[in-house]
């Protein structure tokens, strides 16, 4: 949930965000389905805009304007949040970080999409077939303008593992510390 990224423009909430019943789970099944779908879209859009990689089911999550509309003085309940995150996971847009189901990785870009992005960056910027470190790719001076700059470490590790599995990188230094990962992106 924490992110260093400051978007250049504030997120524009959809009109339904200003609709008070939106923050209460609907009892009627068809309405609830529609409501949950709308929430999934909203969460994805919000996370994309703010480059949010993680959401945690703890008290601080309700500090996010996403789940609390200060103007309406409404917020999403803990149970409803759980329902929404479960729907997000079901839509392949998120993944529980552990079996305790308290945190999710939000995949506003899927792992394969992230892989493609990294490979494309390497090809376009002359980093293909050269040794790069995890730190360099994630926080280096050459990537500050990239979408994956300051990517969540765990998500980054997953993307690298995905690339390795697809044989699109040559792993030089496997490491649990993402900054010390060493690999070559095959261009």
């Amino acid at each position: 949930m924490s992110t260093n990224y400051a978007p250049p423009v504030p997120f524009e909430f959809p009109p339904i965000y200003s609709f008070p019943p939106f923050f209460t789970l609907q009892p009627h099944a068809p309405s609830r389905d529609k409501q949950v779908t709308a929430w999934v879209d909203l969460i994805r859009a919000y996370c994309t805009h703010h480059r949010v990689y993680r959401l945690s089911l703890n008290a601080s999550i309700l500090d996010l304007p996403l789940f609390r509309n200060a103007a309406l003085n409404r917020s999403v309940s803990r149970d409803m949040l759980h329902t929404l995150l479960t729907a997000l996971v079901k839509a392949d847009l998120a993944e529980w970080t552990s079996k305790s189901k308290t945190h999710v990785f939000v995949y506003w870009k899927s792992l394969s999409e992230w892989s493609d992005t990294l490979v494309a960056w390497a090809k376009d910027n002359g980093f293909a077939n050269t040794v790069v470190t995890g730190y360099e790719v994630r926080l280096g001076d050459y990537v500050t303008d990239q979408e994956f700059y300051a990517m969540d470490e765990a998500v980054f590790a997953k993307v690298v593992a995905h690339l390795d599995h697809q044989r699109r990188i040559v792993m030089i230094n496997p490491s649990s510390n993402v900054d010390e990962l060493g690999f070559k992106i095959i261009g």
Binding site: T130, V131, V132, T133, Y135, E136, G140, D141, Q166, R167, R168, V170, M171, I172, N173, D179, E180, G182, K184, I186
Partner: protein, 290 residues
């Protein structure tokens, strides 16, 4: 994509480059840390100065100076590291270029082996033989002229060209020399001078207005012929060659005998000629009907 059967292995120089880059990352991180510390010391110095604690402010500034020196040192180290990695990467590329050149050389050598000098010579010999054979066949079939024939042909061509040149030269008249007396002779008659004057002006005109020599050379014989047509029946001194007379006298054309044999060519002979032509017409018609 990239699902190759064997996983590409990391080479030793990859590992070396990685170690260098890792060190670079460490330095980068250290620099970031130093930068925050610098800012922090600066803030502390300000705070202390505001609180009146000059001694602690100075200490903070000294620490800051020291950190700055460290930062400069790490900058140098970073440059060294970057240089090292660049050198390695460049050398790897050089090695690849070498390998490429070697491969190219090997291919070139293989190709050269395939086309040895002996083979080329043999092929050229065979080609020459084939050409000679072809020549032989041509001579046998008579399609090819011998060198003597060729020389004769050339000679004939030269002769024709010479004749043509000669003919052209003879045709080139020297009209101005002979024409004036004719004009004087004719001038005695009453009606002719005007015509001659016109002819004269015509003769001069093309020479002056049209500078192209070929044009005038063509015109001059024609002009002469026209002059004859006017004058020849009346003058005794002027005797043009028969070849020039033939196309000229349209009046005497039907009966050339009268025109040429007439002892005193006056107006009467002319009228007689025209009369005889008129007489001859029915004869011709008779002939035709027969």
């Amino acid at each position: 994509m990239g699902q190759g059967p064997s996983k590409p292995k990391a080479s030793a120089h990859d590992k070396a480059v990685f170690e260098l880059k890792k060190q670079r990352d460490v330095l980068r991180k250290y620099q970031k840390q130093l930068a925050t510390v610098l800012d922090r010391e600066h803030a502390i110095a300000k705070q202390c100065l505001a609180a009146g604690d000059k001694r602690r402010a100075l200490l903070a500034l000294r620490k800051k100076k020291y950190q700055e020196q460290l930062l400069a040192k790490t900058d140098k180290q970073l440059v060294t590291l970057e240089e090292m990695t660049s050198t390695i990467e460049y050398t790897v590329i050089e090695k690849e270029v070498m390998a490429g050149l070697q491969q190219g050389n090997a291919v070139l050598q293989a190709l050269h082996q395939e086309m040895s000098v002996e083979k080329v010579e043999a092929i050229l010999d065979e080609t020459a033989e084939a050409i000679a054979y072809q020549k032989e066949i041509e001579e046998l079939l008579g399609t090819k002229l011998s060198e003597e024939d060729e020389a004769e042909v050339e000679h004939e061509l030269a002769l024709i060209q010479e004749e043509a040149a000669l003919a052209l030269e003879t045709k080139m008249p020297s009209v101005p020399v002979t024409a004036p007396p004719v004009a004087e002779n004719v001038g005695v008659e009453e009606e002719v001078p005007a015509v001659v004057a016109v002819e004269k002006s015509k003769a001069k005109k093309p020479a002056s207005t049209l500078p192209r020599p070929c044009k005038t050379s063509n015109d001059k014989p024609k002009l002469r012929r026209r002059l004859h047509s006017q004058c020849s029946p009346r003058t005794t001194e002027f005797s043009p060659p028969p070849s020039l007379l033939v196309p000229v006298a349209t009046a005497a054309a039907a009966v050339p005998d009268h025109a040429s044999s007439g002892s005193s060519p006056t107006r009467t002979t002319r009228s007689r000629a025209s009369r005889s032509r008129r007489c001859s017409l029915p004869r011709l018609a008779n002939k035709k009907s027969i």
